[in-house]
Amino acid sequence: MAARNINFDMDLHHMEVTMESPVDEDVVHSSFSRLIEEQSGSLDQGHGALELEDLSDERRDHVTYLAAPSWAEHGQQRGQDLEVAMVNDPLIDERWSSATLRVLSSMPSRTIGRSRGAIISQYYNRTMQLCRRRQTRPTIRDFSRSARPSIRGYGVESDCGDGSEEERKKDQLVNNLQKLSISDRVRMLRAMPLSVAEKSDLRKRAYNYKEGRPISSSQMSCCSRLKYYIIIALRQSWYSWLSFLHSLQLWQVPLKRVSGRFGTGVLSYFLFLKILLFFNIFLFLINGFFLVLPQAIHRPPPANLSQKFTGLELLTGGGSFTNTVMFYGHYSHRTLTSGCRHSDNASVPTDQPGCPPRLSFNMPLAYFFTIGVSFFITCIILVYSMSKSFGKSFRINKSQGYLAVKVFSSWDFKVIKRTSVKLQSENICTQLKELLGEVSRREEGQSVLHRLGRALVHGLAWILCLISTGGAALAVYYFSEYMHKDLETRVLETRDLETRDLETGQRLLEQQASLLALPVVVSSLNLLMPGLFNAVGWMEVYDSPSIRTYVAIFRNLLLKVSMLGVLCYHWLGRVAADPGKLLLQCWESFVGQELYRFLLIDFIFTVLGTFFGEFLWRMCSQRVLKRKRMPEFDIARNVLELIYGQTLAWLGVLFSPLLPAVQIVKLLLLFYIKKASLMQNCQAPRRPWRASQMSTVFITLLCFPSFLGAAVSVTYTMWTIRPSQDCGPFRGLSTMFQAGKQWMLELKTANPNLTWLTWIHTTMVENPLFLFISAGIFLMVIYFHTQVVDGQRKVISLLQEQIENLVSIVGEDKKFLITRLQTIHEQRRPPSRKTHRASEESCF
């Protein structure tokens, strides 16, 4: 009883607070009255008018009544009852009078998105806001009196029926829609939660008014009719363009089937593959258009094709492939000109092939800038998609509310296969159980011994993984050194044996085959080591499955990065530093071939891994072990393999401009192979997979170690390593970077008007200081951006807290007002009812 009293005192206190200023009071009253008018009007018109009268009467003496102290005594008991009833049974309590109930149920917060009228008025307000935002200076008459976010102003003439009320709202909405631009209007229409029939009605009216007006007012002038037609034609073409774009969407049906069977997690792998495909198509188009095509047109006189085709070349990229557009060495160092013009005059080279008087194409320059620009654009796209993905998935990463989120957003509506649906509900069930366990465990805590033991296991696992990673890197290092020496001796032997034709061919073949050893070793390490990591991961215990996934990803990543680092050292440090040792005419082509081999062998190993790891494993487990389980599709490992392959492709673009084409073919084949294997052999993953966060992580990994590493090594090659002197577009230069510099000098002498361009080039491209500064600014911008996001996150959490406080206060206010309303209403009731209630209360 004491608690109840306190409760009520608080309410009284609230009342005092609200009563303090008469202005406030007025506001409260007027908005409340409007609210009642509006809502009861829309709910129940015939009856409503009478009731309203009644209610407003009550309100009139509300204030005087409040002032009377007797109320406190009189209403105390009842108020408490109501309070208690409200707390105990939040739904419906029969002790509320019908009028109170009606008012209650029609409060704006309870009608949002409920009835059609409410939706329409909600969207009316939205369009109003949009209108206001679009217009720089809104005129007064645009603001009808109902421009306020509440629904006030409608219920003034409460005698009109329900239908016409809605009609008027609709009219106003249509009016607002007309004020919007077409694209805004369509967006608004689409986002309305109304049925298509109503939307199209709204749309028809919105368009009719607008387009009907000029016709009815006077006959259309020629000009406006033309405009009208042009607008219609533009709209039609825009629609067809949209349809065309939509039809370009790759793999619509297979993706649907995959997601239908395996859910969003596995789908994210294929979507990632698709993204990579688009990156490669972009690179291929740029390279193909600016490098391969001009070079292919200006084919130099074919060298003697003494080497015969054996088929091994397809694997090694050597032999007769060496001197093709595939590799760096084939490209000319001249300015290519079309027609009968002089061929080796580089006086005024231009970057574009399309200038009319003399079609000339400066190959070294094109090579330099094409690679540079394509890397730059790729970088921008990557950073952009990364930040966008970050914004999507880490919006407000609060741990609370996790169970609710799990319940309402974990069901994957895409999944349509029966067994997968069953699996999914099992998944959700176990996850919910785990979460419940976590909630209860959080209070318990763990013993020190337990934690110590776990830390020990984790430390052991990490040491094992690091040692094996280091071992793999060392193995690659020594093996590559060994193969390098081996190749040296082989090359020398072949040179000595030049006379005997048959044996030379044999030797050459062997030499070619020996080149495949290194990629095979690296790929098999890549295939086997993750298995070891998985085995190590089995003995560890993690609280949440996502940490397990992150750890696995990190270990695999470490392995791949260290191996690629060693390989880069091998190519740029050993091969490029001393190409004479291998009697290489063109070390760039050799490195390009190496990368080609790596890419190909990696593909073959992936296919073999898919075959053995998935197909044979399934056969084994089903036939021999007689288990029903099928292997799971390891999303993280597969995605990392993709990232590894893409790094190779990016590394190789400089040395082999057509490598993206190889990568495209590889990805296309991989898609179908993986899909087939998935459909045949796999089952949906058991672990929960937070797809949006994981795809963010993958994009980040693609950007940070993969692309950045490739970009750094390519830039290093361009800036510091001496290109081959007898082949390729940069022959005769000390670094590739000199090509741009030389061109600038030539430009300066030939055309003094363009000195500003030269200046820009010298200050921006050649000056390392500028590069450092720009990189620094870039990093700083990123840093500030993250800081701002962080700050926003804090502000959001603060605001959330405030909202929660506010909501609870407002809720109490509401309760208080309703109680008052109810008591006043009770006062006006016929006495019979009152006694009935009184008896009820006494029972209570």
Binding site: R395, I396, G401, V407, F413, K414
Partner: protein
């Protein structure tokens, strides 16, 4: 092109295009999907807006919905009569909301409707229990289910009225980045 003209007029197609998240081609494709459900019922000519409905039994047997535990709710929410019998408009509306392009608020609105089993515009404990039963195929014990309901309401209910209103729901959905990708049916 001639084929399209016989099904819809250009105006109709434009209207559908503006009111849903589909392009012309997709609208035609969806129409054919719709018609395949009951070929003898649905005419090939929609220019005069025939008033026909496909009964729920046929809608619910679509492969996209067949295994979905919420199929009946989905059909009920999107059908004009509230019983799951769908006109073409309802059908388009359903897949438009469930498409990739639909904004979060729209999806959240209909998701709320779907989870609100007793149509009282609140997700209350009984709705939550039903949702859980459908999600887990009655695998949770009564105690667990009660605990989950309690926690969910505790987490998501902002105005402390013991049930979730649309606003509570939308507020919670903002924090679920996966919702947009999971509340999505590829058609």
């Amino acid at each position: 092109m001639g084929n399209k003209q016989t099904i819809f007029t250009t105006q109709q197609l434009d209207a559908y295009q503006d009111c849903t998240f589909f392009t012309r081609k997709e609208i035609i494709r969806l129409f054919h999907r719709y018609r395949d459900l009951a070929p003898q019922l649905i005419p090939l000519d929609y220019t005069n807006k025939p008033d026909v409905k496909v009964p729920y039994e046929l809608i619910g047997s679509m492969p996209e919905l067949k295994e979905n535990p919420f199929r009946q709710r989905i059909a009920e929410v999107f059908s004009e009569d509230g019983e799951g019998n769908m006109t073409l408009d309802d059908f388009l509306d359903m897949f438009s909301v469930l498409s990739e392009m639909a904004p979060r608020d729209l999806k959240a609105y209909y998701a709320f409707k779907i989870y609100d089993f007793n149509n009282d515009d609140y997700i209350c404990v009984s709705d939550l229990e039903k949702t859980l039963n459908k999600l887990t195929r009655n695998e949770l014990s009564e105690d667990e289910s009660r605990l989950v309901c309690e926690k969910v309401i505790d987490e998501a209910d902002l105005d402390n009225d013991g049930r979730l209103s649309l606003e509570d729901f939308q507020h919670m959905i903002i924090r679920a980045p996966d919702f947009l990708s999971t509340f999505h049916i590829r058609i």
